[in-house]
Point group: C2
Chain length 194, copies 2
Amino acid sequence: MFDVILKNIGKHITLSKEEEDYFTSKLVYEVYKKRDVVLEPGKVALYTYFVTDGCLKLYEYDNNGFENIITFVPKDWWNSDLYSFLTQQPATQYLQAIEKTELLKLSKTDLEDLYVKIPKFERFFRILHQNSHLALTNLVRNNSSLTAEEKYDKFVERYQGLELRITQKDIAAYLGITPEFLSRIKRKRKKMDS
Amino acid sequence: MFDVILKNIGKHITLSKEEEDYFTSKLVYEVYKKRDVVLEPGKVALYTYFVTDGCLKLYEYDNNGFENIITFVPKDWWNSDLYSFLTQQPATQYLQAIEKTELLKLSKTDLEDLYVKIPKFERFFRILHQNSHLALTNLVRNNSSLTAEEKYDKFVERYQGLELRITQKDIAAYLGITPEFLSRIKRKRKKMDS
């Protein structure tokens, strides 16, 4: 059950067997059905989530009431409404399963405690925060500078194969375009490939 | 010379005298005149900068050629083109002194070395990265949801007193409005205060 997360942690830090046991004792395993909501606006994000199987989407509604998907969270990725998790103010984003999803959640309290007990986790989450800063910067830049087609190519590159499991509606909400426009892009891409 | 930065570090971690000495031995002190450029697009951000006196501005040009000020960096603040610093790809942002500025710079190599020699710095920069994530999230949210007047109020609140040292042109470039529109907001605010 903990193989995926320990391998993920192992990318940046090396834990002893005791440290691994202490860390995994703090994780809570949960299973969500397709469309189940993991976190929603108004509630405080008490946990950060690590997906061990399946896929979540992190989204919010823009001023015009359109669903704006910020990121998909497939297997081996961490996420939460990070702003809410860090500040413990109410969330503004939804975290929802787009298919049956298994995850491990870690509470803010346990994470703070982990930093003190096993300081190596400072390094792990320092790097994770760096990466999420880079991702957020990319998101802001791409939104303002790329065409819908270029965004689609970045999406396929970023989520490798995941596009087959995500609905057309969700891909369109991630790209900020209509499902009709998405179909047009995909037809064009198909022609180019054939 | 190192008082300001050691106090800044002391907000999150406690260093021994030896650790302080090791850390400060890695810092390079520099003085910039008003309008001097610290970092510019095309060059790689080899350093992160800590302002000990004066003020920098971090900015880029948008697709329409308008100067877009992302943040001011007054005394006691860290900054750089963080994307470039973390990835060592060429910068896309300018870092420039808006008045005579003294700073301490720390190279990426020395920072990586610091993480290994004094792991407490992992904690310090983990927290700093968290804060910059929150700031970036706030920036994106405010840009899309606040009126120019609300942005001005946030600006005054965020930089307490600094608005007296920044040109009207730069404040307008930060708020994303014309200097004329800024004058109108300030006249309105003055009337409300009197």
